[in-house]
C-alpha cells in the first residue's frame, strides 16, 4: 500500500466507506452511541456516520452528535473513514454494528 505519498498518510484523499444495518432493538440510542464513540475514539482516523449514502455526516467520536442521529433498528448506517488507521477503524465500527453492540 506504500506509494509516493506514503509519507503523508494524513492526506489520504479518498475516504473508505461501508455500511451496516442496525440490528439491535433500540437502534443507536444512548448505550450503543457510547460504545460506538468509545470504539471510534480508539483510532486516529476521522470517522463519520450517516443514515444516507450522501450524508449528512456526523462525527462518530462525538457521543452527543451520534445520539442526535436517532438511528432506529433496521436503519442502514453508512460510515466514512479517513486516516492512516482507517481500514482497522472501519472494520472495528462495522463489527460493533453487526454484533448489535453486544446487546440482544
Amino acid at each position: 500500500m506504500h506509494d509516493a505519498h506514503a509519507s503523508r498518510p494524513s492526506e489520504t484523499p479518498v475516504p473508505l466507506t461501508a455500511s451496516a444495518v442496525l440490528v439491535n432493538k433500540v437502534g443507536l440510542h444512548a448505550r450503543p452511541s457510547v460504545k460506538l464513540t468509545q470504539c471510534a475514539k480508539g483510532f486516529a482516523a476521522k470517522i463519520e456516520l450517516a443514515l444516507a449514502v450522501d450524508g449528512p455526516w456526523t462525527d462518530a467520536k462525538s457521543p452527543v452528535k451520534v445520539m442526535r442521529v436517532k438511528a432506529p433498528q433496521g436503519a442502514t448506517l453508512h460510515f466514512r473513514v479517513t486516516g492512516p488507521d482507517g481500514k482497522a477503524a472501519l472494520a472495528a465500527v462495522l463489527a460493533l454494528v453487526h454484533d448489535g453492540f453486544g446487546e440482544a
Binding site: A30, V34, T37, Q38, K41, K61, S62, P63, V64
Partner: protein, 133 residues
C-alpha cells in the same frame, strides 16, 4: 483500549439529591465502564436535600486524576458550592477542576465517555456542554 484509567479525567456528580447523584453514577458505570475515576455527592450535612462543600471536596479527592476533574452539577447551590469547593482546593489542583455547564445526568455520561477515550479536560468539558450548544 481502556487498559489504564489513571490518566483519564475524573468525573464528579453533584446533585441536591443523593439518590440522583448515585443513580447518575450508576448510569455512568454501566454505560461507560470503569475506565474513568468517578465519585458522587448529594445532600446537605443533615442528610436533607442540598449540597455541601465538604462533600464536594471529598468527591473531587476521590475522583482525582492528574488529568483533572470535570464536575457535573444540577441546580443553583450545587453549582455555587462546587465553585466554592474548587476555590478551596490547593492552588496546584484548582486549575485542573472545571464545573461543566451541562445537564447532570446526560453530561456525566457524555463527559465520562469522552474521558474514557483519553481526551483532555477541555475536551471532556466541551463534549458535556454540547447538550446546550
Amino acid at each position: 483500549m481502556n487498559s489504564s484509567n489513571s490518566g483519564n479525567v475524573g468525573i464528579v456528580i453533584v446533585s441536591h439529591s443523593p439518590k440522583i447523584a448515585e443513580g447518575a453514577a450508576d448510569m455512568v458505570r454501566q454505560m461507560v465502564g470503569s475506565a474513568v475515576p468517578l465519585a458522587w455527592t448529594g445532600g446537605d450535612i443533615d442528610g436533607g436535600l442540598g449540597t455541601n462543600v465538604a462533600g464536594i471536596l471529598e468527591a473531587i479527592e476521590a475522583a482525582w486524576s492528574p488529568a483533572g476533574v470535570a464536575v457535573l452539577v444540577d441546580l443553583g447551590g450545587a453549582e455555587t458550592n462546587s465553585e466554592m469547593a474548587v476555590e478551596m482546593l490547593p492552588e496546584d489542583r484548582r486549575a485542573r477542576v472545571v464545573v461543566c455547564n451541562a445537564p447532570v445526568v446526560e453530561g456525566a455520561v457524555i463527559a465520562a465517555t469522552e474521558s474514557s477515550g483519553g481526551s483532555p479536560l477541555a475536551a471532556v468539558k466541551r463534549s458535556a456542554e454540547e447538550f446546550y450548544a
